[in-house]
Symmetry: C2
């Protein structure tokens, strides 16, 4: 589509592609317009700060979540003039309660450890010695007698070798997700894990742990990295020690929450949909700035930038802010079920759930034929930092969309180096988001939505 001999005009150090053989020069001009509007206003960061200050603790069952819903509705309705829908979703009802306590007693001294209960953790107070395992696998292989009546600590760190930090996360996260249940099955009184991060600070990184129905939940906590190193050193020293843990979590019956969906009706094919989404819920340790405040802002701002640039969509464009990605994925199921009942057809769906960092590329799945088209978009997006479309996962909230085999699924893939420094931790706050990096993400997604709407068959 953009083949042939190209004439390059330099504008602001980027390029405008003009070609005599098939490419529409309007594309690069319109995309430059999107970026101009974006970079002049840096509105994404203003919106992100609003969301994170109005509703910092927004697990989908928390009071703050409903403030986030109201905020998103107002932005969608009043600022963007969209039709906005609130979709009821029944979500798990876990609360952290009071801050958790972890005190390590060794050689007559007490060392407080920085810990955060994992989502799904039971409440409890436990005083016991700790048995340590380097990996989840080592715990799985351990005899019950070694674990029974003890506190388990799984010190499985991030592998430093992968360039993409998400790869290290994928390799290690089983210890958080499944470790506490394995420990509970073997009779452990509580389970601690090393946080899922490359960071060397002492902020614990929470996240979901899963206790199957057959297992009675126990207190389960993540330790900051310094605390994890301390505890590991004590265990390795074989010195006598005791760990006191107290968690105050509560688990109630499922409760009502909401997806927020904003809709911009298409002119030519209003019955075909392009979805751009993020998840509105976030862990309660920080204020969910990168995970996934950034993704929500990307989704909303992508449509807003297209509006401001004077675009008229062919298909119906929707931003979807999913409830409960962090501990249930219930919002995604509800959105998709409602959409299916209405007989809607999705031609593409994109999620941003990898942070608000500098643009790198997009990952895609589900429809190889449509995906082939993406490579033709590259020359138009390269001046803005997009250097690849690669196969791979799109986004957790897009899993239900896989049933629609025609639908192209995409995930925004910004630079990954800093993401897990903040992910699910107290430092996931707007100060760690860079206004221009965030804005470039919004504009890259807006540009891609424009190209998909125009060129997808």
């Amino acid at each position: 589509m953009w083949g042939g001999k190209a004439l390059l005009l330099s504008l602001y150090g980027t390029c405008i592609f003009l070609s005599a053989t098939g490419q529409d020069p309007a594309d690069s001009i319109f995309i430059r317009k999107i970026f101009d509007i974006a970079l002049e206003n840096l509105e994404s960061y203003t919106w992100l700060k609003e969301l994170c200050s109005i509703a910092p603790k927004r697990l989908s069952n928390y009071a703050d979540y409903f403030k986030a819903v109201a905020w998103a509705e107002e932005k969608g309705l009043k600022w963007m003039g969209l039709t906005v829908e609130r979709q009821p979703v029944w979500v798990p009802n876990w609360y952290r309660g009071n801050p958790e306590v972890a005190l390590l007693e060794v050689s007559g001294r007490t060392f407080p450890l920085n810990a955060a209960a994992l989502g799904g953790s039971a409440a409890g107070h436990v005083r016991a010695s700790v048995v340590g395992f380097a990996t989840l696998e080592a715990l799985e292989l351990a005899p019950t007698s070694l674990v029974q009546g003890k506190i388990v600590f799984i010190n499985q760190g991030f592998d430093p070798h992968p360039v993409e930090t998400g790869t290290s996360y994928g390799m290690a996260v089983g210890s958080r997700r499944n470790g506490p249940a394995v420990a509970a099955r073997k009779g452990a009184l509580a389970c601690l894990i090393r946080s899922m991060t490359h960071a060397r600070d002492d902020y614990p990184h929470t996240g979901m742990t899963v206790f199957p129905d057959s297992v009675t939940p126990i207190p389960a906590l993540a330790l900051g990295m310094v605390s994890a190193d301390t505890l590991w050193a004590v265990i390795k020293s074989q010195k006598e020690h005791t760990l006191f843990i107290e968690t105050f979590c509560r688990q109630g019956p499922d409760t009502l929450s909401f997806n927020v969906v904003g809709e911009w009706k298409g002119k030519e094919k209003p019955g075909e949909f392009i979805v751009v989404g993020g998840h509105l819920d976030a862990w309660d340790t920080g204020s969910g700035a990168h995970d996934d405040g950034a993704g929500c802002i990307h989704a909303m701002m992508a449509l807003r930038l297209l509006q401001k640039a004077g675009y008229t969509p062919r298909r119906t464009l929707r931003f979807v802010l999913f409830a409960n990605e962090e501990n249930g994925l219930r919002g995604a199921e509800v959105y998709y079920k409602l959409s299916y009942q209405r007989g809607e057809v999705h031609v593409a769906a994109l999620e941003s759930d990898a942070g608000g960092f500098t643009p790198r590329g997009f990952r895609y799945e589900n429809n190889p034929t449509r995906a082939a088209l993406l490579q033709d978009f590259l020359p138009l997006l390269m001046p803005y930092g997009i250097s690849f479309f690669r196969p791979g996962g799109s986004g957790a909230d897009l899993i239900p969309f896989r049933k629609e085999t025609d639908c192209l699924l995409l995930g925004y893939s910004p630079d990954s180096q800093r993401y897990f420094d903040h992910h699910h931790a107290a430092t996931d706050t707007p100060e760690h988001v860079h206004p221009r990096e965030l804005e470039l993400g919004s504009a890259c997604i807006a540009a891609l939505i424009y190209l998909l709407d125009k060129y997808l068959p």
Copy 2:
């Protein structure tokens, strides 16, 4: 060289390229080895913190600079086992002296402004009203009568539109470089400029300003962004006001400084050289972590990683830490002159002077034939974040190398979004460098040096 059908093996989420048609599979395996060593140890960050704590204020004539020289020599000699040379360089001898003062008096109140003298500024104390100009061009066009006896303020900010922040810098930096001399020529008593940054904080960003011999220097200062906005608002209000400025700069006769050059003799062609460099001097506002501590570490660590990976160089590899990039480029001239006198041939020279951020690509100049080869390297470096080799400037210290038309000149080009947030400001400290991002830069440069040494004709 890497054409033909490629078999992809996934390792740590990256790819090993194996091909039946001409490519040497040893390359991707060796490059992966470099990155493994780098990411396991994150030694670059440790070295950077050392440099910035031992010698934070290291303009090439400052006392700290000689501590930096000693540190670099020790690293080169003892840690890397290289032959290390100290090259004498006569450098300008400007000192900031005591911290500068800028007090804005308006409506009976005094507002302190955050200011930093520019390199080359005169000492002085001035009390006068301020005349403001939106651009350097507006100042150039102004009648002398408007400026005489006043303090000039040039409020020329960064253009928000360019994606690459270096483009905005290039567009605006004339106001810092030439503005004070233009103001002095028109009879101004002092000159202030808006800092060269996209940041919205109030740290002033210093840098070099040039007073030609025909112009008597005046006090010249950069203002932080909040201070600049404040001053601009007062000027626009047309309210009566006075600005008091005091600077304590000293300028002495040229003084002795040094380049530090570490050499690793090549086995096959010891008379051919590949240079990898950064500049050891830095502005005295922060500790020169990104500019250009990162570049020095990149250069040294690139050779160290090749050593640790067991490499035997064909050509002679040199790290060159140039003196006086910031206010004279004298180190580069001396290095090149000495090298020319010895009849040395450079096949390639690379400078890292754009910060320690996440890798993006390399820019090249000077030898189109050799540059063509670079595109063949791309598939080997893409798994590590290198997505382009683009024509463009290499590095200020490589300007003298342009005389050698066979020499390929390269500049490391990491992500630019955050660079000018810290450039020449108090926040250019190791806390704003990310250990993995810095290390990936060292490893990318090591990998490129390996490929250049192997494949350059």
